[in-house]
Subunit: 326 residues, 2 copies
């Protein structure tokens, strides 16, 4: 796609065209070449949305919660973008289709835009696509963007880094507080939800979580533990209020400012990495002068790939040819 | 660790020292700096082992199968390395500990070396660590290396690329053939196993798999579908025979030769990527002349990270400073 076409698409998106938004999302999901240039056009219009991450083990009711939160936010008159991230395999994701269909409550609402990222591509690809799709929704003018994951693995934890407010959803039978710690959820949670709270053990899980939270160093924000029953909309108003309180607590906070600066820096690193990798794959595949003998020796097994890599990286002109300006 | 220490460690490993082997594995698992140099020392002694990958959904009995296969191979007098890959979160891996304990049947056998890779690190890190740990076991002199995954996500599929022979293990209740196709398992299987074959639906699943296999383009190797009951060692002898047959079929096969060449090339690409990323993170973190203003602008939000990345990549001397020889 040409520079002019991309410019036109971004302008149409900024003017509120949902089709243009969806096309930009597809480019981003496919990690098309030229993404840095595309996203640098989108960037200036972004940075206003409240990004809410929702994660937790499969079956915790995250989609239903997302649905309910969206309902409350819509009633309050704000517009909502939803990114549903599903990097899991079909063996672990039986409920996904049902969840997506349930989401259709808001599917026809023009104040809501839902995008599923079900890529089976690389781990890093999903996290990057989520980051850029979130930024597109932000630039499109959504006041809230909810990023919901299906499971809670490493990819999902990475995805949550882009959220301003991270909600960790558990259910009474999800295990105990030790598992929450082992899964790395304590470090990322700004709000805990114990969903399906009509089941046995909900109060006990809440007490366990509160005890565990007392072990953390004191901070300005007290992480709440909220009991909900998303299916019947019980406790979800309280959750939405907690989200708004966390957002308010973030504003002007020095720690928050520090995190934003770090996030920007790690985003630069990530963009550099992705672009270097793209150039490396493309140019190694298409042949680079002087590299053919090394490649042949590796393919034939006469040179081990580790030594070959070191040899390539030692030569400045090869490096420039492989990775520099096209 | 110095070049001399690494040399000594590799020599002790090559002489059969299990402690040296374990220490090298730890370096590899931690993705320590200097890995390309370390692995280039290990490489020449490798390439003889038969690498057997075992994957499938959680609960299919992969660990028990690995245990049984190891028993058969040990009876035949060959030495076996086992790599158990577990990149999953605690929420999905309830049975892991039990499986590992069961593995202790072979734990004290000097002809067996077992290593668990339970890293919660990045996706790529686990796949790379598995590749290098497998190569270490190969160089140590293990005639067979079994790489077993806990689940069957993208990481696990990537891990399986290093296997000579890939076994996909299913159970009657794992779903139907459509799910097998959706999970990408049809493309990677050299041998199918339907385990827990005393349960309902085992024969039906076998027929479904055979029908599905008929839809594939014809090839020299006919993918067998084997019924096993690993818990009682039923069918496992047949499985081990199939593994040996597949290995024999590979020898001298032109298609196999093509795959090895491709694998070596993609390994080079992967090593380059990892090393570039390491340098990028290290040097960006430690400050590179001329880059400070760009970094400050990104951190402060006055320059978007996409434009900054493009600016950095356009300058040959910055590129050399960031990525070239130390």
């Amino acid at each position: 796609m040409s520079e002019t076409e991309i410019k036109g698409l971004v302008e149409r998106m900024q003017a509120g065209d949902r089709v243009a938004l969806a096309r930009l999302m597809t480019l981003v999901e496919n990690r098309a070449p030229g993404l840095p240039a595309l996203m640098s056009r989108v960037y200036p219009g972004s940075g206003r949305a409240h990004v809410i991450g929702i994660t937790g083990p499969p079956g915790a009711g995250k989609s239903t919660l997302t649905d309910r939160i969206t309902g409350h936010l819509r009633t309050a008159g704000t517009r909502v973008g939803i990114v549903a991230v599903d990097p899991s395999s079909p063996f672990s994701g039986g409920a996904v289709l049902g969840d997506r269909i349930r989401m259709q409550t808001h599917f026809l609402d023009p104040g809501v835009f839902i995008r599923s990222l079900a890529s089976r591509g690389s781990h890093g690809g999903v996290a990057r696509a989520t980051r850029d799709v979130t930024r597109l929704l932000d630039a499109f003018g959504m006041e809230h963007v909810i990023v919901e994951t299906v499971g809670v693995g490493q990819t999902e934890l990475d995805v949550m880094r882009l959220a301003d407010t991270t909600v960790v959803v558990l259910v009474p039978e999800a295990g105990d507080a030790v598992q929450v710690m082992k899964a790395g959820l304590l470090e990322i949670a700004d709000v805990f939800v114990v969903n399906k709270a009509d089941r046995d053990g909900a109060e006990r899980m809440k007490s366990e979580l509160i005890q565990m939270l007392h072990l953390r160093p004191a901070s300005a924000w007290n992480i709440p533990v909220i009991l909900t029953q998303a299916a019947t909309d019980v406790g979800t108003g309280e959750l939405v209020a907690a989200l708004e309180q966390h957002r308010a607590a973030l504003t002007g906070d020095a720690e928050r400012e520090r995190r934003i600066r770090l996030r920007r820096e790690s985003e630069l690193l990530d963009i550099l990495e992705e672009e270097l990798r793209r150039r490396l794959e493309h140019r190694l595949g298409n042949g680079v002068d002087g590299l053919a003998p090394v490649l042949d020796a590796v393919r034939g097994g006469t040179l081990d790939p580790y030594s070959a890599a070191l040899r390539i990286l030692e030569d400045a002109s090869t490096l420039e040819e492989l990775l520099g300006r096209a």
